[in-house]
Point group: C2
Chain length 449, copies 2
């Protein structure tokens, strides 16, 4: 639904709330889809939100909490009457409920867990790290035995009535709950009703261990175009299922984190507009200070060459140009390499190939930039030796920047450090100091300082 319509509904909800007409406000929200409900909802004050959550049917309230930011949802549940909170959390999907409990104070979480009807489904999910495949999976799935017929499987599906609408695979397990096969709902529907599942199931199942990183699980699903991915323990027992809608969220979040890190900030925990000034500052000041410290390196290089600067003041005019070009060439490389790593196009084994490709690209780029730099320098200061110094330096700096820019992320990935951490700003600051060193060294020789 587009923004103007939602804005007008929000206005109507507010009017209803001002008139203390809670049921009218609830009715307006009920008509919306969950994502829209959450958008309107998060514009309201907390006491209005609490009142509405109590007024709305429990499934609607549960849907809204699932769509809200996790911290926002946790705050509301904390502020709510316990009986009411338990009723709503019981209406949530087990994986969402588990995530929410993880964000509550431990005593409140265990108190709630003790009273949940679905606690058997939620409890095992709490054992897995939030960012692992186990933390992403739901425990709602249908597992049948291999001699079950297609007709009986469809009947089991009818009886089951899962909360979750988008379940399109059934799983076949043995007596020890070990995963043996998978059947898509489509194959089940078009099969002869009397066929046992073992004849139509696919035994070559792609599954992942509960402990692997959620991003890795997401990559498996996108690589093989899966709508659901079974999660198993180390004995092969089926623990849960990851569905494609959660994977899309994971991929989007990972891309957001990469982009924010490339910009030189720690990833935000919440949506932009929900992030406060101090949280925002906290995420950013660390990097700024670190980059400041490494930038003083660049200042130190300039201090080291103070005599040369004193002798030829014009040298300093080209500093921003050279620093800028080195940093830009380096961050082009890093951004491209980091993304290629993230989507799995390259890995550590390609390091030499990647470095060689970047050095050749760097050479062509450097030559192009050298021509531009020479022309710019000679028109600024009619001093051919100085112009040649600048042009030669820029080739060296671009080669250095593309080389470092390609190897740093690959080495980081090899050392299991997030490659975005060594990226963009960090890299350019490092390239700055060394780049100036290259520049002043060349100047010393060429200008005979």
């Amino acid at each position: 639904m587009n923004a103007p319509i939602l804005d007008s509904i929000l206005a109507q909800v507010r009017t209803a709330l001002e008139r203390n007409n809670l049921s009218q406000a609830a009715k307006l929200i009920e008509k919306l889809r969950p994502a829209d409900q959450a958008e309107v909802f998060s514009e309201l004050d907390e006491d209005e939100q609490l009142a509405l959550l109590t007024e709305l049917p429990v499934e609607e309230s549960a849907d809204i909490l699932e769509e809200l930011d996790e911290d926002e949802a946790a705050e509301l549940i904390e502020a709510m009457h316990p009986t009411e909170a338990i009723r709503i959390v019981d209406g949530m999907e087990p994986d969402e409920a588990a995530d929410l409990l993880g964000d509550l104070p431990p005593e409140q979480a265990s108190e709630m867990l003790a009273h949940l009807e679905d606690s058997d489904e939620v409890r095992p999910l709490l054992l897995h790290a939030d960012d692992s495949a186990g933390g992403l999976m739901t425990s709602e799935f249908l597992a049948l035995r291999r001699r079950t017929t297609a007709a009986a499987a469809i009947q089991a599906l009818r009886d089951w009535k899962p909360d979750r609408e988008n379940i399109y695979y059934l799983f076949v397990v043995d007596a020890e709950q070990k995963l043996r096969g998978v059947i898509s709902l489509r194959d089940l529907v078009i099969a002869d009703p009397d066929t046992p599942l073992e004849e139509i199931m696919d035994t070559d199942v792609i599954a992942v261990q509960a402990g692997i990183d959620q991003e890795e699980a997401a990559r498996v699903m996108t690589r093989y175009d899966l709508l659901a991915l079974p999660v198993i323990d180390d004995t092969g027992k089926l623990l849960g299922v990851i569905t494609i809608d959660d994977v899309v969220d994971v991929l989007e979040d990972e891309a957001s984190e990469d982009i924010q890190r490339l910009g030189g900030s720690e990833p935000l925990d919440k949506a932009y507009l929900n992030t406060g000034i101090f949280s925002m500052t906290r995420k950013r000041i660390g990097w700024l200070l670190m980059l400041f410290l490494t930038a003083t390196l660049t200042g130190s290089v300039m201090r080291f060459f103070q005599d040369e600067l004193q002798a030829v003041v014009a040298l300093s005019i080209f500093v921003p140009l050279l620093i800028g070009t080195g940093g830009n060439a380096g961050s082009q490389t890093t951004a491209i390499i980091i993304r290629a790593l993230a989507v799995g196009e390259i890995d550590w084994h390609d390091a030499l190939k990647v470095w060689w490709k970047e050095e050749r690209t760097g050479l062509v780029l450097g030559l192009g930039m050298a021509i531009a730099a020479y022309i710019r320098a000679i028109t600024w200061e009619p001093n051919p030796a100085l112009a040649l110094t600048v042009a030669t330096s820029i080739i060296g700096i671009v080669l250095w920047a593309t080389g470092i820019g390609s190897l740093l992320p690959l080495v980081a990935a090899k050392l299991k450090i997030d490659p975005t951490v060594v990226s963009g700003p960090v890299m350019s600051t490092l390239v700055d100091a060394t780049g100036l060193f290259i520049y002043f060294s060349i100047a010393r020789v060429m200008l005979g300082l």
Copy 2:
């Protein structure tokens, strides 16, 4: 499948090909899943690839072409015998076939289209821009009438046997093919067999027009957790369906483009390792030159203040520090804002709110950085007036950078320019020149130059 296993299969395929045992090589590849087939396949030489495509069963060859980079696939089809090429393209899904035809020389494309069995399905897809919802949709869908019973619908599905496995919605249309409702396969399966579709269908269908941007369609699907999104024309007639697997690819590609643009390069057309040196240079030299030109602005500012630099050479030592901090603060802001725009958390209407949040964040960040800068300056040069100049400048520069960094992407989005284009490097270069201007102006006053 993990890399070492694929490497060993690649080695076996190569050995088989060296021994001219084409059928053995084909057998090895046939055992793999499409994504793995394509990975092994793209390591081979073009004549080996062509030989294998002819040897493999036509569905396998079609699967491989679908998984390959679009340009790679188009080159193979161009090099192939026309009869063989037509046979394979006929085995591809209509949307993939249409994309492939779009990458061929026009005469060859229309020649092939004339001979395709599926040409009726492919032709309408060619009318839509590659990056629109129409370009992304498939024309393979099942549309039934509202009085059809659940049992008849299941029978229709059985008779239909689509190529595509992951179709989990059926659509209900009227006599004019206008979209009237949607039913998930799950609801169909659990319904009483005699129920007419109109009683179980959801009439509140989310659909998009064929002309909208594919990224917008992808956002609609992720927002409402849809597995399939119907595409209609302006009269409401059902034209096709976008499925979630294509959407994941779109979101990944868009994130890649944003990351590459943020790094200051045009988005690459192909996977990293398939991009040649000259294509790589072409994507990058334009931005480097543009940034070089704007960086000369910074040089001009320094030339403008040459007398001040001559008087206090120590001023130049702090240039990289100030430029760096301004650029970093600005690119933090831009990256965060660009991502918030991309995922739809903010839009142009939030500009004032965003700017105000960034200015307040900038003030806190600037104060923190000012303390660090003062300490650094006073330890380098025991000159309190100079240190105060640097500290004051850094507050001004950070405020300026966060302000510009927040407004530029929003203004760009409002003007329908890709916000990443005004981002990262461009922004920092702009911030550099103005930042130095702020610095030298403050120095003039504080140091009485």
